[in-house]
């Protein structure tokens, strides 16, 4: 059967062979772990420990009362050194808990297996998932309990399990599917119960034949493995839903609007850990890879471990480093310093040499080749959006879909003039948010005046 796909997108050089045969290896945390209090979309957690406290593995160190927000846990045992703002991998500054790792990895006494899946109600599963601090591990870091908590009146019939792993280089989801199959199916079952989905589809790009074969054998009666064409950004939630179910998520809404919940394979395994062992999300699978890396591989890394430690583990690089990218080459963020920590959304670490991704200077003029239009998986016109944003015509840009952009970067990738298309679109989106904030403030201050 032909692999399913969506319209648009690009075929890339995948470089997956660097690590796709390398089994997941557990590694120790760095001597000091840096655990940011906001590693998710939504409200930042507030610290609930203080300098000098001894914390244990799995102990909650930060929490929030907001619905869109999750608690944060310690990945090591040791002493809290300080709570301070630090540079996060997304380039912003945020509060983080610095913990001196004592190397004992002493478990918090609260870590105990939960009830069996049959005994748990959907509400209870959602609560466990929230308390475990689980967020979308594909990189988007949307709190998983919010996804599973389907609002009244919405019916979810499909749970899509995202094993597309469409970014080049990254292979940690590939290895999870092969090596953590039992937990994967347990987590899928739990997620399906929580959101009430009757049908399950595990979606995998056809460059991972071994996963497709293995998981197809393990599928139950309401479950199916779907092979997808290897094309970026197939793992994008909206592209996945279009390819597999031929449904389109209406602009500005979430997938349950069309009866779908999508979770990443790594997230499913994290859910299993939270129920079976009671272990919150304190570790994640990370591919540390790149052609210049001496011993690239896939690792289970305690959250908060710094990049220096991982560079040591892979034995350094053959050439001077140009960029260190958290995530894949298409959507990842390049970090400033090697002392930045692995966070919940770090799906991989890609190390590129200085020649592999040189800085792009002044772009050439647009020659209207329309490659950006042809390849946009959201069917936008990035060339127009770039022009409108750079001329500060944001209202027009909004009408032409500025906020529909998923920032996959296909437009900038294919542009022969090397224009900064998605980058301009990001500027426009941020400017829209800033503008809304200014207006809200104006309204608020007016309300105070008239009161």
């Amino acid at each position: 059967m032909a692999s399913k796909t969506f319209r648009g997108g690009v075929h890339l050089n995948y470089h997956k062979e660097l690590t796709n045969q390398k089994p997941l290896i557990n590694v120790d945390a760095s001597d000091v772990v840096i655990i940011p209090l906001k590693m998710h979309i939504g409200q930042e957690a507030s610290p609930i420990v203080k300098k000098g406290d001894r914390v244990l593995v799995g102990q909650k160190i930060g929490d929030t009362s907001a619905f869109v927000g999750v608690p944060v846990h310690s990945s090591v045992s040791g002493e809290v050194q300080k709570i301070d703002t630090t540079l996060l991998p997304n380039g912003l500054r945020g509060l983080a808990v610095f913990i001196k790792n004592d190397g004992q990895y002493e478990l918090d006494p609260s870590i105990k297996p939960k009830a069996s899946l049959e005994e748990l109600s959907s509400r209870e599963i959602v609560d466990i998932v929230r308390e475990a601090g689980i967020v979308g591990l594909g990189g988007a870091t949307f709190p998983t309990h919010v996804k599973l908590c389907v609002p009244e009146g919405k019916d979810v019939d499909y749970l899509l399990v995202n094993g597309a792993e469409c970014e080049p280089y990254l292979t940690c989801d590939h290895r999870i599917m092969l090596e953590r199959t039992d937990e994967l199916f347990y987590g899928i079952e739990a997620a399906a119960r929580a959101c009430g989905a009757e049908h399950i589809k595990i979606c995998i790009e056809d460059n991972k034949k071994d996963c497709i074969e293995l998981l197809a054998k393990r599928c139950g009666p309401n479950c199916e493995v779907v092979a997808l064409e290897t094309k970026y950004p197939q793992g994008g939630e909206k592209q996945l839903i279009k390819a597999v179910l031929n449904r389109e998520v209406p602009s500005g809404t979430l997938p349950y609007e069309v009866g779908v919940v999508v979770i990443n394979v790594g997230t499913a395994v994290a859910i299993a850990e939270a129920i079976q062992k009671g272990m919150p999300l304190v570790k994640r699978a990370v591919s540390v890879t790149g052609d210049i890396v001496n011993n690239p591989g896939n690792f289970i890394v305690p959250i908060g471990t710094t990049m220096d430690k991982l560079l040591d583990i892979v034995g350094g690089t053959k050439e001077p480093i140009g960029r260190i990218i958290y995530g894949g080459p298409m959507m990842g963020t390049s970090i400033h310093e090697t002392d930045e920590p692995v966070v919940k959304g770090t799906s991989g670490i890609l190390v590129l040499g200085r020649n592999e991704s040189p800085l792009i200077g002044e772009p050439d003029p647009c020659i209207r080749c329309a490659r950006c239009v042809d390849h946009c998986p959201m069917h936008l016109m990035p060339n127009m959006l770039e022009r409108l944003v750079s001329k500060e015509e944001l209202d027009k840009a909004k009408k032409m879909g500025l906020n529909d952009c998923i920032e996959c970067g296909c437009c900038s990738y294919v542009c022969p003039s090397k224009r900064h298309l998605v980058q301009w679109i990001r500027v426009g989106k941020m400017e829209l948010i800033a503008r809304k904030k200014r207006e809200d403030q104006k309204i608020a201050s007016k309300a105070i005046e008239t009161a």
């Binding site: 970090i335 209207r368 032409m400």
Partner: protein, 304 residues
């Protein structure tokens, strides 16, 4: 930049290999079979026309950019392509000064006055050709028979067909017919066109739209569709001029509209107007419609 500092940039961190320059040089390479055919059928003088035309286009671009105090960007290859295309559109008897003048007009009036690369609404080479046709109608229609034919001047196949005559299809296909320097050999043009289609440098929708509408209209009008495809400037125009990225629509649907529009106009001019051929005018007219086509054929955004 210090050697030990990391590079910080907004994603994507990798870019595709194609550049403006690589695309332009590919187009130039794709035209070489047709240049070779022109030289084979019309002699070394054809090559002189090509070289003068390219030289003049490049010189005009350099002079303009120097005078305007702009950064020199002839190395992007677009002037070479314009000069080359203009030469392909000249009769093989054209005086060299005319080739030089046409190229300079193509670059300056056809491209630079609008703001240079990417900003021109009309195909520059066609602007040059139409300028020459309007200024020197006699010189622009002085056809020569291909080498080996014992005649001084002749009518083009389209003129012959319009007068009720027929031309052997094999002559049309291989190019041993009177016509412009680069337009006679359908075979040579197809080789280049297929190369560009495979590389993704020309859009299949425009090409299919033109060929498709010409075939359909030929059948409706009772004309030989194959002869209509092979004769005149259609191959050259459809594969290399209508597909010019800068002057064709950016939307997928728009490129269908554009291609079909060119085909319709070509058949209208060939069979309803005084001129035997109208590929240049058809493309220029559709170039003028591009902003309107773009505005009315925007793709439907996912989820809207």
């Amino acid at each position: 930049m210090a050697e030990d500092l990391l590079i910080i940039a907004s994603s994507p961190h990798i870019r595709a290999k194609d550049t403006v320059q690589s695309i332009m040089y590919s187009v130039a390479i794709a035209l070489l079979p047709a240049v070779a055919a022109g030289v084979y059928f019309f002699g070394w003088y054809a090559l002189a026309i090509v070289l003068v035309s390219i030289g003049s286009a490049v010189a005009a671009e350099v002079v303009w950019q120097k005078l305007r105090g702009q950064a020199l960007r002839v190395s992007d290859g677009s002037a070479i392509v314009t000069g080359l295309l203009l030469a392909m559109n000249l009769p093989p008897t054209a005086p060299l000064w005319m080739a030089a003048l046409g190229s300079a007009v193509a670059i300056i009036i056809g491209k630079q006055v609008y703001g240079g690369l990417g900003a021109n609404p009309f195909n520059p080479a066609l602007v040059g050709r139409v300028f020459l046709t309007a200024s020197f109608p006699m010189l622009m229609t002085k056809w020569a028979l291909p080498a080996g034919y014992d005649a001084i001047a002749s009518a083009t196949p389209l003129a012959v067909m319009k007068a009720g005559g027929t031309v052997p299809l094999t002559n049309l296909f291989f190019g041993s017919i009177p016509g412009c320097l680069g337009e006679t050999s359908a075979l040579a043009l197809l080789i280049g066109g297929i190369y560009l289609l495979i590389k993704g440098h020309i859009d299949y929708r425009i090409v299919t739209g033109i060929f498709g509408s010409v075939v359909v209209l030929s059948l409706l009008m009772g004309l030989d569709p194959v002869a209509q495809l092979l004769a005149g400037g259609l191959m050259l125009g459809a594969l290399f001029m209508a597909t010019d990225m800068v002057t064709s629509p950016v939307t997928p649907k728009g490129r269908w509209v554009f291609g079909i529009g060119v085909g319709l106009l070509v058949m209208l001019i060939r069979n309803g107007a005084g001129m035997p051929e109208g590929v240049s005018f058809s493309i220029l007219l559709m170039n003028a419609a591009v902003p309107l086509i773009n505005r009315t054929t925007r793709p439907r955004i996912y989820g809207r």
